[in-house]
């Protein structure tokens, strides 16, 4: 029986390796057909904003790869409502189709999954 995993990405996209590592974990899990869900929380929500130009920093295109998640079978994508609000962001600013969840729903997500990874 596969273990359900909730992956919480809390790091901004270009300040270190954490955002990319979260993506790698998600894609690896998807490749092994693990039931994975992904939640963007805190600074992690910056990963999802549109019109990023990673080539300016000579980085790989993280946003483009994030939008490939559903193709790898990772379709349960969530973003924290309070994290968006705190940063003046709305759903319209995001380049990926994700469900907006409040604190209570996040608590439920943590409870429902068998493993929770935060990075």
């Amino acid at each position: 029986m596969s273990v359900s995993v909730l992956l919480i990405s809390r790091s901004s996209p270009w300040s270190g390796l954490a955002a990319r590592e979260a993506l790698d974990i998600a894609l690896s899990g998807g490749a092994f057909d693990l039931p994975m869900s992904m939640l963007w929380l805190d600074e992690g929500v910056w990963q999802l904003v549109g019109e990023q130009q990673p080539q300016q920093l000579e980085q790989k295109n993280l946003p483009a790869q994030l939008s490939a998640l559903p193709m790898f079978g990772i379709e349960k994508l969530y973003v924290a409502q309070h994290s968006l609000e705190q940063r003046g962001l709305t759903e319209a600013d995001l380049m990926l189709e994700v469900s907006v969840v409040d604190a209570g729903q996040i608590a439920q997500l943590i409870e429902q999954h068998q493993q929770v990874l935060s990075l």
């Binding site: 929380l41 309070h82 608590a107 943590i110 409870e111 068998q114 929770v116």
Partner: protein
């Protein structure tokens, strides 16, 4: 299914407070133990790593149950799930 949430950074104490279920437990370690200086108002079962509390001179503020490393390990093993923030 109850979880043990391990919090290592002070800023995460507040972040996590709203996101974890009432029945879950919280273990503070590293700089997160500075949160013990003020009343936390947490309804969760609360633990703190003794050596981190003592190292930071917070023993008299300790509202949590102190645990040493062996107890830390035992705690992790006793919960169905461990979430390291």
């Amino acid at each position: 299914m109850t979880s043990l949430h391990i919090i290592n950074h002070l800023a995460d104490v507040k972040t996590c407070q709203a996101l974890i279920a009432d029945t879950d437990a919280v273990l503070l370690c590293g700089d997160a133990v500075y949160a013990l200086r003020q009343p936390l108002g947490l309804t969760h079962r609360l633990y703190a790593l003794a050596e981190d509390v003592q190292a930071r001179g917070l023993e008299s503020f300790n509202q949590a149950k102190s645990v040493d490393y062996p107890e830390f390990v035992a705690l992790c093993a006793s919960y169905t799930k461990v979430v390291a923030w």
